[in-house]
Symmetry: C2
Amino acid sequence: MIPTITAFESSPDRGRGLARDMRVRWALEEVGQPYDVRLVSFAAMKAPAHLARHPFGQIPTYEDGELVLFESGGIILHLAERHAGLLPADPDARARAVSWMFAALNTVEPPIVELGMAGILERDKPWYEARRPMLEAHVRTRLDQLSARLGDAEWLDGAFSAADLLMVTVLRRLGASGLLPAYPSLGAYIARGEARPAYQRAFAAQLAVFEASQAT
Amino acid sequence: MIPTITAFESSPDRGRGLARDMRVRWALEEVGQPYDVRLVSFAAMKAPAHLARHPFGQIPTYEDGELVLFESGGIILHLAERHAGLLPADPDARARAVSWMFAALNTVEPPIVELGMAGILERDKPWYEARRPMLEAHVRTRLDQLSARLGDAEWLDGAFSAADLLMVTVLRRLGASGLLPAYPSLGAYIARGEARPAYQRAFAAQLAVFEASQAT
């Protein structure tokens, strides 16, 4: 039996790979684990059957036999612990990579999501233009620190890991912000992630779902 | 040799246990691991020596011999993997608890921090009162979902785990928001966490640091 993940029936990102199922698809491709996808509508995401799988009514979820997981970070760490290729074998390096996973999701992503959501929910508000420089400054602080730490390295800490997978997907959310061109080393880092064959297979799979949703 | 964590020399929360070293202290107390604390000033947090430990210039960090970790979620998962008492032994239950750790930090905490930071950074702005209901609504959505899932259970998924430790510390940040009284089951959940002897030892330790900083 192969695991089943959930994804948007029609992703609001229009197939740009910014929805969080992309992270899990990428991780599954990195470890060579085939998977099924159950598509959910926005209405179905808030219905009892899906809330039983995901208490916060989001995607992705992960089902493998009796095991049901939610939250992309948790799903990816589960995959990384059961398959080679997403975390280093050395215990100290592994602990550092896991810390970087949390950093991607708890320190770098929140100001990026806050900036993005303001653009969606508050663009027509009178304060939007006044607040935007502050939101951008919060993101730039994180990008300054991240690029300082990354330096000339290829990945965050040694070989490619689940931490890079998460960090690249987090940074990709800035694509439309105009902030990334000031950070060429981060741009190259994102490009290294996107060049991985596993990324490309995952990206094509989620794009195919969006394109099929438009054709019907 | 015992591990060393970092904490604020003078915590902006005035000893209320809301700084992120509290989480790590609590976890260390739960597993019975003695620890040292190195206090850092706001200036020292942004200096090279600390940035080498924590790329984003925050607390806490964790040092144990050659191993240096940052990010409270990563430190606590490291402790949970090396000591009994913070994660279930059953592999599926363990994976679910880890997903709840990510949910606490990536799904529940961000809107709570956003509400709290608006109160600090934007209270004097003309839009503050107009935006506050939206920020509160985002938090309430998560509290509705969390209390629906928790139901009458004592903890999130079976026995107390690192997921509860993180979720309780995340929810405690709402103490001054006025939002918690509408969720008595979450209030009782927080109180169960705070009643644990390990929590109380950790709380006393961080409060003693703040009180000493005021005495000098």
